[in-house]
Amino acid sequence: MTDLASSLAQMRGAWLTGGSAIEHCPDTWRSIVECEDEPALVALAGHAASVLFRPAPATPLAVRPLLPRLGLRVILETERARFRRVLAHKTGAVTGHAVTSFMAARGFAPHPADWLPSPGNDETAEVFTPWLDWVRGEPEAPPDLAMTLETYDSFPFASRCAALAARRRSDPDAARAIIAAKARTEPAERRNKLVAILETKLSVDDGEFLASLATDRSERVQELARTLLARLGRVSGEDALATELAAMMTLGKIGLLRRRSRVTMTPLKTSAQEARRRELLGRVSLKSLSDALGATDTQLLEASPVGKADVLGAFARMIAKTGSDAACERLLELVLEDKEFPLAEALALVRRRRTAQARAVAPRILQRDDRFFATTLAFVGPVGEVTLAALTASPSFSALLRAMETARGAEDAKRTEATRLVESGLDRLGVLASPEAASEIMARLAAMGLSAADPKLDMLQLNAALIPETRP
């Protein structure tokens, strides 16, 4: 074989530059190939090379570890095409993150051939952490390993954060101790993510560590530590700004029989002044503002805020950023009671803590949501457990049915916009509704003439197909 390989290499060299290769061919071939029959020789050489030799890698081949299994069921083969269509559907109403989070909440994972988290995506639901580590090329976490100071380094980073977050929920002091000991060894970006874990179950016990981060190498980490300290009521150096901001609002009482507090964002004369107020709301903490207004945090949060939508939004964001969890919940409650408050501006209050409490308020948000379920989805997230009664009682549902009628109408301009609204609304319903609600809504839509094969129903169909394991 070595002789043949050598002959083939010489013939190759001859043909590459041009000329006869007959003198280089193996002796046994000479009796087959007539003199000057280069085409016959190339046929023999080509065939010999094809069947006798195999390509070999010039460098060693690297094998990736096998993709880890998750504690979720992979969706059925029959649902994979629908899932791919949902991801490819570009209404923008529901993100891929929302769809995968919805599935995870139901106990399902997409097939990894159809979806894997992208390496830079930190928003990925926690249950997909092993896949995130895998796509980042990090080694797999040992199974059932508890997060301790000693085992910290055995976890790949995404799993490390997930394990620390779980530890924080069960044992906040232990988690803080690990973060305090190890954060300094991590680069700034990762250090920031570790410190952010302290947001959960934040307490005065975290104060000392957070204060020590005032000299951190990263400004982002310093800023995060200041924010968390502010939630604990530990602020400094904001007095002048807080006083300036307090002058732009008034805290008072209204009502003759039923006296209640109200904080009014005083109308300002110029847009520059309005911009300055919004800027100050981004820089001042709840504690400093309360002090400047001569009130307590609680008194300020019992006052219904009144003013322009953008200022109210900035106010809500200020509370969400620098107020305690209780402060956020209190203001959210106030906003839900206050029909004048623009609901969408209060979104920051739940972004920080999208929890069972946020889900509990879903029916109240639905009652005020006329934006094709956009507000509800933003507040509640893709929970996949909202009941039929709550969904159909929403102004969004009536708006959706009206839009469906318009979409079937004759006017092209109206039809296009109505179709877009219907598609968006149905996509959002698909990640909000319980499986029973999804099935019933599809039945109602079918009765209105929408075909079950219509791709607008894909998300609802996927919803109805993903039955949680606890259900019959």
Partner: protein
């Protein structure tokens, strides 16, 4: 607005379309006909190897078909609606398959033909179609004589073209493959044009496509691949010269038989089995045609056995959807084109329903050795399907993907693979082997079926 005979007549683009549709009304041409609410859908076995999938909405009369026709609605959609109007009972209620949902969003609404001055009639179309079907003995004899004369002319022209091809190969070797590879497109185009003039149409297409095959390889592999390609051309040319009437060689050099010719051929090997759709390859060729190849795996064979459904249609007909979904299984009888290594086939008959899930046949430990055997039979083949044994997909230092068996056999892949494929344990994989690269079609993995290039 429901479907009626008059609404079909109104939406037909012309009377010719109705006449063509009337030729498709036989239920035997429709392995699948069903309805879901106002939707009717079906699969029509037309003149191609791949069936056409048709959906129509009996309410708004929109329709969609996978055929390449520029007419809208096409004859297949018209035939589907026509059959529905005449016999609704032939369309049982069924859950809409995934392809119906995929097309729902892209369908075009029907419109009354702009050529309203033309009288269109279903009855007239059916009568015209029946009249055309009556045999005319004298016309058939004339046709046969013309055909024999044409065949003799073709043989003479191909003989000269094949001689020129061998001279051309010798010239490339004499002047050097370095220069050949530097002017690959120009040189191949010139000889391809000569082959077209010489009525060696298939051979011309092969030469036309040679540059894209060679340029898809890393530069250092092109010389060896060029030697292999030129060698195959010489082998084919000499084989044809020795047996110009051999159907396989005629197909490889001149032109392929039509579907009807293959079905009518009593000697064509036939296999009735369950088939899995491994995947499709749709490629635009230099001659302006789009090739649509669907690879099937015989799920009942004891050793790996494949079939290729191959169609061509003009690129100007626009992008065409695949006829089968990858992974789909069906029961069918296939007729294979006569060949030393039967691969290309047409569907003779098909039964609805996939039946129970089936395992793939056992792959040979060294499928490349089997490939060598097949190449001894038909050395001119450029691509051979293989079933690969258990293995993994890995990467070399340049991040080029390779398949490697558990036993250590390795071969480079022609395309980059998804991230997931690198993390899956491959139980078995189906691929096309070009002699230099593997093009993966599908794999069974520890995560289930995995498609490539779908």
């Amino acid at each position: 607005m429901g479907l009626t005979r008059s609404s079909i007549e109104a939406m037909a683009p012309d009377q010719g379309a109705l006449k063509a549709a009337s030729g498709l009304l036989a239920p035997s041409k429709w392995p699948l006909r069903a309805r879901h609410g106002g939707l009717i859908f079906g699969e029509c076995q037309g003149s191609g190897a791949n069936p056409y999938r048709v959906v129509a909405d009996s309410e708004d009369q929109g329709s969609k078909c996978t055929c390449p026709s520029r007419k809208f609605p096409c004859k297949h959609a018209l035939a589907l609606m026509w059959m529905f109007v005449e016999n609704e009972a032939a369309f049982p209620q069924a859950e809409p398959p995934a392809w119906v949902s995929e097309w729902m969003g892209r369908r075009r609404k029907s419109a009354t033909s702009s050529r309203s001055d033309e009288t269109k009639s279903l009855d007239a179309a059916r009568e015209a179609s029946a009249a055309q079907a009556l045999p005319d003995p004298s016309a058939n004899a004339r046709k046969a004589a013309v055909s024999a004369k044409r065949a003799e002319d073709t043989r003479r022209a191909v003989q000269a073209a094949v001689d020129d091809l061998e001279l051309w190969v010798a010239d490339q070797l004499r002047t050097g493959l370095a220069g050949f590879l530097a002017k690959l497109g120009e040189r191949c185009r010139r000889i391809a044009a000569r082959l077209v003039d010489g009525k060696a149409g298939t051979l011309a297409s092969r030469l036309d496509e040679m540059p894209s095959r060679l340029l898809a390889l890393p530069q250092e592999e092109r010389v060896d691949a060029a030697i292999a390609e030129l060698g195959k051309l010489v082998t084919l040319a000499r084989a044809w010269r020795a047996e110009p009437d051999d159907p396989e060689l005629h197909r490889e050099v001149v032109r392929a038989e039509s579907r009807d010719e293959v079905v009518a051929d009593k000697d064509a090997p036939r296999t009735a089995s369950f088939w899995e759709v491994l995947g499709s390859r749709i490629a635009t060729r230099r001659d302006g045609l789009v090739s649509h190849a669907t690879w099937l795996l015989d799920l009942e064979a004891s050793s790996p056995s494949f079939a290729l459904l191959l169609d061509f249609f003009p690129a100007s007909a626009g992008r065409r959807a695949t006829s089968f979904s990858a992974g789909e299984c069906f029961e069918a009888e296939l007729a294979f084109y006569a060949s030393r290594v039967p691969q290309r086939a047409v569907i003779v008959s098909r039964r609805d329903g996939a039946g129970p899930a089936r395992r793939w046949p056992q792959a040979a430990a060294d499928p490349f050795a089997e490939n060598a055997e097949r190449l001894l039979e038909a050395p001119w083949l450029t691509e051979i399907p293989l079933l690969l044994p258990r293995g993994r997909i890995c990467a070399d230092a340049s991040q080029r993907a390779w398949w490697r068996s558990a036993e250590g056999l390795a071969a480079p892949l022609s395309e980059a693979v998804s991230r997931f494929a690198l993390g899956a344990s491959i139980e078995s994989a189906a691929a096309l082997w070009s002699g230099a690269q593997l093009s993966l079609l599908a794999a069974r993995t520890d995560w289930g079926r995995l498609g490539f290039g779908d």
